[in-house]
């Protein structure tokens, strides 16, 4: 929602892979969080939503399916590090092609509890950027 959103997708965040693309993303929060804090992660490429099962989340040399993240409370996303989303997609990601990427990242803050049920506070950000595909 704020200035930190600009760090989520850098200009060189998109690169082609054998099965689609890789998207490097950074957190919009101010501190490191465990992967279990990733409450919302959606990607839309050129107007088409990417199904969650076609996204893997890679950090610290490991790769996880998106639906594994809620249970990963011992795996950390250091605040200066980019995570890499490995996305299976039929789009043409040839180097130099432009793609409109819309990404929503919602973080559930494990130390700020709100509401009648003491739920972790949701801090979400949506960014839309046209990125030029980099060579790997």
């Amino acid at each position: 929602m704020g200035p930190l959103d600009k760090f989520i997708l850098a200009e060189d965040a998109l690169a082609a892979t054998a099965t689609g693309c890789a998207l490097h993303i950074r957190s919009h929060w101010y501190r490191s969080l465990p992967l279990s804090s990733v409450g919302i992660l959606t990607v839309n490429i050129d107007g088409v939503n990417v199904p969650a099962e076609n996204i893997a989340f890679a950090i610290n040399g490991q790769s996880y399916p998106l639906n594994a993240l809620p249970s990963l409370h011992d795996e950390w996303w250091f605040i200066l590090d980019a995570a890499t989303l490995h996305i299976q997609s039929p789009h043409n990601f040839a180097a130099g092609t432009s793609h409109e990427i819309a990404l929503e990242l919602g973080l559930l803050l494990p130390y700020i509890l709100v509401g009648p049920n003491a739920d972790p506070l949701l801090s979400s950000s949506r960014v839309t950027k046209t990125l030029v595909c980099q060579t790997l």
């Binding site: 929602m1 600009k6 494990p110 130390y111 972790p120 949701l122």
Partner: protein, 327 residues
């Protein structure tokens, strides 16, 4: 009162990755906004709360080199780290014990803890803190004003145990006179309807207790069709700002071990429009507080127009002037 900064004020600079840790500390020294230095473990340190010998040595050397005094290490009490349940009392004790050890290793005399540590947790931590010679400072951050039921329970425990290792860190965001105008402008720009903006202003200005405010907000914002994302923004508003009077810090004064001098920005006259710095400086001076205050700039939550270094410099100049003037 002694002055200093927290690396939280320099979040934009840090996350831009244009500053190394050494460059941040060198700038703080060069700008004269120390000597007090506070850091947040989970912001600054990779693999926190595990501290390598090498990192500990480097940080201590850097603080020496740049004439900075370690004041407070910010712990986070992540009781909702698991998605299936909250951490138990003992798990929370362990989670904090590791961070106490980190404070010892890095030379910080105070560990900031958060209200997600229940009184039973603090009771179990008291002997550990004493043994480590690290004071636990419970951050009285919005929405945890003195008369919040959870703070009342903690105050009772503190009176019972009466240990110098169990203290408070007043955060000026708890004693505000207005919601910073910039944040509502930011909500409006991203499409929040006026009905929700009016609602949060109404609830914020009311005198009802915090738990009631969160309940009201949830019910009324949902009735107005707020999305989960918008409800998150509005809940965050109550989590960042409260309007307890500055005079009420007097009630906890004897146990204050550190201060978060939270601020958001300045008007054309150099005053902080949402925080009554004059009243706050008077209260802490008259209360005999002689510890450190970290100038904690949080305007980066909604604007990147300013440098954290410049903002902290301006805040310290304002507070120094007010401290000397208030009599």
């Amino acid at each position: 009162m002694k002055f200093g900064t927290t690396l939280f004020s320099h979040t934009l600079e840090w996350l831009s990755r244009r500053y190394s840790l050494e460059q941040l500390l060198a700038n703080i020294h060069a700008e004269g906004i120390g000597p007090g230095l506070e850091i947040i473990g989970f912001q600054t340190i990779r693999n926190f709360p595990h501290i390598s010998d090498e990192f500990a040595r480097d940080l201590r050397d850097l603080m020496d080199e740049y004439e900075l005094v370690p004041t407070c290490l910010g712990a986070n009490i992540d009781v909702a780290i698991r998605r299936d349940r909250f951490l138990t009392i003992d798990e929370t004790v362990d989670y904090i014990a590791t961070q106490i050890a980190a404070a010892t290793k890095l030379g910080f005399p105070v560990l900031r803890v958060q209200m997600t540590a229940k009184p039973e947790v603090m009771r179990k931590l008291a002997p550990l803190a004493e043994k480590a010679n690290v004071k636990l400072g419970m951050e009285l951050h919005s929405p945890y004003a003195n008369h919040h039921p959870a703070v009342i329970a903690l105050r009772e425990l503190y009176e019972e145990i009466d240990s110098p290792y169990l203290g408070y860190i007043p955060d000026f965001g708890t004693t505000m006179r207005a919601i910073p105008p910039g944040i509502l402008a930011r909500f409006r720009r991203e499409g929040m309807p006026e009905s929700l903006l009016d609602l949060i202003k109404e609830i914020w200005h009311a005198d009802s207790p915090a738990p009631e405010k969160f309940g009201q907000l949830q019910a009324r914002a949902s009735a107005l069709g707020a999305t989960p994302q918008q409800l998150g923004r509005l809940n965050m508003t109550l989590s960042m700002f409260s309007k307890q009077s500055p005079e009420q810090w007097t009630e906890v004064m004897p146990r204050v071990v550190h201060i978060h001098g939270k601020f958001y920005g300045f008007d054309a006259e150099g005053d902080e429009p949402s925080i009554d710095c004059a009243a706050l400086m008077r209260v802490f001076r008259d209360g005999g507080y002689d510890g450190y205050m970290s100038s904690e700039w949080e305007g980066h939550a909604y604007t990147d127009e300013f440098s954290g270094f410049e903002m902290v410099k301006q805040h310290q100049a304002l507070c120094r002037r007010l401290l000397n003037a208030s009599s």
